[in-house]
C-alpha cells in the first residue's frame, strides 16, 4: 500500500530501477515462466471459447498448408519412380539386316567381356518377329510382308557403376563402333523428360508453397488484428500501468502460435484423409503399369516439421499484425483533451 514508508526511498532515478530489484533472479525467472504459462493458457482458452471462428481459421490454414505438402509428397513419390527405373536402364543395339546370327553371337561374347556390361541378351530376328506378331495384333499385315523386317537385337544391361549419363554414353560409343551394329538406342529419353517434368513441378510446388505461406501469414495477421481491436481497452490499461511492448504483445503472439498449431493439425488430418482416399486408385493404377509406385507419407518427423512450420507461420502472422497495429495504440487518447 502507499502507506508504506519505503515509498519515500524508492526513486526512479534510472528507468531500470523500476524493475523489481529485490527478488532474487531465481524467483524472477519462475515468475516469468509462470506468466508465460498463464498467457499461453489464456490465449488458448480464448480460441477455445469461440470454437467456430477458430475452427474456420484453422481450416483455412490447414488447407493452405496441406496443398503444397501434398504436392511435395507426390513429387517425392515421382522421384522415387524415376530413381527406380533409372537402375533398369537398358541399351538396345540393332544389327543391320545382313548380319548373320553367328556374327551376332560373336558380338554377344565381345560385349559381355566389357567391364561396363552386366549382361547381354540376344534376340534373334525370328524370335523378335514371333513376339511382335503375338503382341501387336498385326498378324494379317505381317503376312503381306516378304520376309522378316526385324534385325537381330542385343539388349545390354550396364553394370551398376556405368549407369550414369556419362557411363552410358561411353558404352554407347563402344557398341556403335562394333561391326554389324546399325543403331543403338538408349531408352532414357522418356526418363529425362520425366526428370525435367518433376524438376519443373518441384519449382512450381515451391512457388506455390511460398505464396500459400504468405497467404497464411496474412490470414493470421488479419485474425490477430481483429483480436487486437477487441482487446483495445485491455491494451490501453496495460500500457498505462507500465506494461512493456513485450508484455502487451505476448498474448497475441501466443494466439498466432496456437492458430498455427491448429492449422498444422488440420493440415495433417487433411493429408491423412486424402492419402486414404487416393491410395486405393493409385495402387490399382500402379499395378496396371506394373510399377511399385506408391504415395509417400509424411512420417512422424514430417508431421512434427509440418506442425512446427505452421506454428512459426502463425507466430510470424501475429508478429506482423502486432507490429503494425499494437504500437499505434497509445494511452494518450484515454486521458481526454484539454
Amino acid at each position: 500500500m502507499a502507506a508504506d514508508p519505503t515509498a519515500r526511498s524508492r526513486k526512479p532515478n534510472t528507468a531500470r530501477g523500476a524493475r523489481v530489484s529485490s527478488a532474487p533472479w531465481r524467483e524472477q525467472a519462475e515468475t516469468y515462466i509462470t506468466h508465460h504459462r498463464k498467457v499461453a493458457r489464456d490465449s488458448a482458452l480464448r480460441l477455445w471459447r469461440t470454437p467456430v471462428a477458430s475452427l474456420m481459421t484453422w481450416t483455412v490454414m490447414g488447407v493452405a498448408l496441406a496443398l503444397p505438402v501434398a504436392l511435395m509428397l507426390l513429387l517425392v513419390s515421382l522421384q522415387g519412380v524415376s530413381a527406380g527405373w533409372e537402375s533398369s536402364a537398358r541399351v538396345t543395339a540393332y544389327m543391320s539386316l545382313e548380319t548373320s546370327l553367328e556374327h551376332a553371337r560373336g558380338l554377344v561374347s565381345d560385349v559381355d567381356a566389357d567391364s561396363r556390361v552386366a549382361g547381354v541378351e540376344l534376340i534373334p530376328r525370328d524370335r523378335a518377329l514371333a513376339e511382335f506378331r503375338a503382341s501387336s495384333g498385326l498378324e494379317d499385315a505381317l503376312d503381306y510382308l516378304e520376309g522378316n523386317p526385324l534385325p537381330h537385337t542385343l539388349v545390354i544391361t550396364p553394370e551398376e557403376d556405368a549407369r550414369s549419363a556419362d557411363g552410358v554414353a561411353g558404352l554407347v560409343t563402344f557398341i556403335e563402333g562394333l561391326e554389324g551394329v546399325e543403331q543403338v538406342q538408349v531408352d532414357l529419353g522418356w526418363l529425362q523428360r520425366l526428370n525435367a517434368m518433376t524438376e519443373l513441378l518441384a519449382r512450381a510446388v515451391w512457388a506455390l508453397a511460398t505464396l500459400l505461406a504468405v497467404a497464411v501469414v496474412l490470414v493470421i495477421g488479419n485474425t490477430v488484428r481483429l483480436s487486437i481491436e477487441s482487446r483495445r481497452d485491455e491494451i490501453l490499461v496495460a500500457k498505462l500501468v507500465g506494461g512493456t511492448d513485450g508484455f502487451v504483445r505476448r498474448p497475441f503472439l501466443y494466439t498466432g502460435t496456437w492458430f498455427g498449431l491448429g492449422g498444422g493439425i488440420v493440415a495433417w488430418f487433411l493429408l491423412l484423409l486424402s492419402s486414404w482416399w487416393l491410395n486405393g486408385p493409385i495402387e490399382h493404377l500402379a499395378r496396371l503399369y506394373r510399377s511399385d509406385f506408391s504415395l509417400s507419407s509424411l512420417g512422424i518427423g514430417g508431421v512434427f516439421l509440418l506442425i512446427i512450420a505452421a506454428m512459426l507461420l502463425g507466430w510470424l502472422g501475429a508478429w506482423v499484425a502486432v507490429k503494425r497495429h499494437l504500437d499505434d495504440i497509445e494511452p494518450g487518447e484515454i486521458a481526454g483533451g484539454g
Partner: protein, 229 residues
C-alpha cells in the same frame, strides 16, 4: 518529485496547450490543478506520464529528465506513476481483484505477493469484501475506489488524478479526497486535476491554476494558498 522548467507544448502551429510553465512539486505534496476546460490540465498530466513530449522546456519526474527518454524506457517510468481517471478505465471482463493486479503483473511480481498486495490496496480503499465481483456490479464511487486501488497497488511515489470526483456526489467526493490526503501524508506526491472549485477551497491545499496554457497561480509554493505539509 515533479519539476516543469519553461515547458511549452504546441500541438500544431495555432494550438498551444501550455506556455512556458514552471513549477515544482515536492515529495509528499498534495496539489490541485485547475482551470477552465481546454486550459491545458490534461496536457500537463500527459507530459508527466510521457504520453506527450514537450515542444520546449524540461519535464523532470523523480529526478529523471523525460524529454529524451527512449521510447522503450517509458513503461518503467509509468510504473512509478499511479493514475486515476474520471471514467476509471476499469476492465469489465475480469474481477476487481484482477483489475487491481494488473500493475503488479506487468512488473513481474510473483503470484504470492500479488495476492497480498492487492488485498492491502483493497483494504485501504475499503473494498476488501468485493474482490471477486465484476466492476460492473459496483456503484460509481466504488468503481472509482477500485481505480484508486489499482493506481496505488505498486506503491508509486507519484499519484496523478484526472477529475477523479467528476461523476460523484459531494459526500463521495470528500471521501475520495480524504483518501488522497492520506496517501500524501505517507510521502506520496499527489496531483489532482479538478474543476470542482468548492471542493478545492475546502481542502485548502496548493492549487496550480492554468488559463489558456499559462500557469497563472500556484507556480511557486508560496503563491497558491497553503502548502501541503
Amino acid at each position: 518529485m515533479i519539476e516543469f522548467r519553461q515547458v511549452t507544448k504546441r500541438y500544431d502551429s495555432d494550438h498551444t496547450a501550455l506556455r512556458q510553465v514552471n513549477f515544482h512539486l515536492g515529495r509528499g505534496e498534495l496539489a490541485f490543478l485547475t482551470g477552465h476546460s481546454g486550459a491545458g490540465k490534461s496536457t500537463l498530466l500527459k507530459l508527466i506520464m510521457v504520453m506527450e513530449r514537450p515542444s520546449a522546456g524540461e519535464v523532470v519526474v523523480g529526478g529523471q529528465l523525460l524529454n529524451r527518454l527512449p521510447k522503450r524506457q517509458i513503461p518503467y517510468i509509468r510504473r512509478h506513476v499511479g493514475v486515476v481517471f474520471q471514467n476509471h478505465q476499469l476492465l469489465f471482463d475480469r474481477t476487481v481483484f484482477e483489475n487491481i493486479a494488473m500493475p503488479l503483473e506487468v512488473m513481474g511480481v510473483s503470484p504470492r505477493d500479488v495476492g497480498r498486495r492487492v488485498r492491502a490496496a483493497l483494504d485501504k480503499v475499503g473494498l476488501l469484501s468485493k474482490e471477486k465481483m465484476n466492476p460492473l456490479q459496483l456503484s460509481g464511487g466504488e468503481q472509482q475506489r477500485v481505480g484508486i486501488a489499482r493506481a496505488v497497488v505498486n506503491k508509486p511515489p507519484l499519484l496523478l488524478a484526472d477529475e477523479p470526483t467528476g461523476n460523484l456526489d459531494p459526500d463521495l467526493s470528500a471521501d475520495i479526497m480524504n483518501l488522497f490526503a492520506q496517501f500524501s501524508q505517507v510521502g506520496v506526491t499527489v496531483l489532482i486535476a479538478s474543476h470542482d472549485l468548492t471542493l478545492i477551497s475546502e481542502m485548502g491545499r496548493r492549487t496550480l491554476t492554468l488559463d489558456h496554457g499559462n500557469l497563472i497561480a500556484g507556480g511557486s509554493p508560496l503563491q497558491g494558498g497553503a502548502r501541503g505539509r
